[in-house]
């Protein structure tokens, strides 16, 4: 995805909605833009788009995607961070509670394990608001 100066690459639809700010004194009512999310995109859609956009055979993309998922699964389950080209880094982290003695600090004190994703700079830049056109529509009819 190129992020040239030619203009926005994506478009999202937004509409004004009324919100009540409960955390402020007097609970004032304000307005803000809310964006309507598009349809959920599955792996098959990604494969189709990727095959059309880059002249790589669909079968190769399917194989590479499956192998990529297996690799992330295997390496992350063993505590490695995985750098995926053009995408970012997947890594595992765990949170634990503080206990009084060293003996108590064991598997039971672990609260949760998390999979985290750190996108590449290229991907971050592509998702910048400069590359997205905001299509504002008054769906709720709030404007007079």
């Amino acid at each position: 995805m190129e992020t040239t100066k030619s203009g926005p690459k994506g478009t999202i639809t937004m509409y004004p909605e009324k919100v009540k700010l409960y955390y402020l004194e007097g609970q004032p009512e304000k307005y803000r833009l809310h964006w309507s999310r598009g349809a959920a995109i599955t792996d098959e859609d990604i494969i189709q788009y990727a095959a059309q956009a880059s002249h790589v055979p669909e079968s190769a993309i399917v194989l590479a995607q499956e192998a990529l998922f297996d690799a992330i699964d295997y390496f992350c389950a063993n505590g490695h961070s995985v750098q995926v080209p053009y995408l970012g880094t997947f890594s595992v982290n765990l949170n634990s509670k503080v206990v009084e003695t060293a003996e108590e600090a064991n598997e039971e004190s672990v609260k949760r394990c998390r999979l985290r994703f750190y996108p590449k700079r290229r991907l971050k830049a592509a998702c910048n608001k400069k590359n997205i056109r905001m299509n504002i529509v008054d769906i709720l009819g709030l404007k007079k």
Binding site: A67, L68, A71, G79, V82, V92, A126
Partner: protein, 132 residues
Amino acid sequence: MGLQYRVKKVNLDLYKRKVEGYKVQFVNQPIIMEDNLVEYISRSAHIPRSMVRACTMAIADAITFYVINGHRVSFGKFGKFHLKVENTCVDTPEECLADTVKRTTLCFTPSTDVKKVLDKASLIEYEELSEE
């Protein structure tokens, strides 16, 4: 092998009262660099390395395209990519313009399956090698 941890001593400052405690700290294994991952995928999927790079680039481009158009993109069983839009509140609906959007960022939400798998992953205490 599973996830490795070591016990770490921590000093807490609770209401100006210093308390010593212990917590579990995750031991990071070496990072799998891009080249190593490409080599691994190339061997397991029997496709050339250049093709693997082209595929990952195409997948990244496809994800970006759908995300910046407001879709939620599934990434296998790992989770979903989506756009996060942060904006400011204004007094009237007429003031709700594109300028009120502060920033848009790419977010990744891990799926519940991954959370369950990681919660059940075996945790092993890390044994540091002694000099002897």
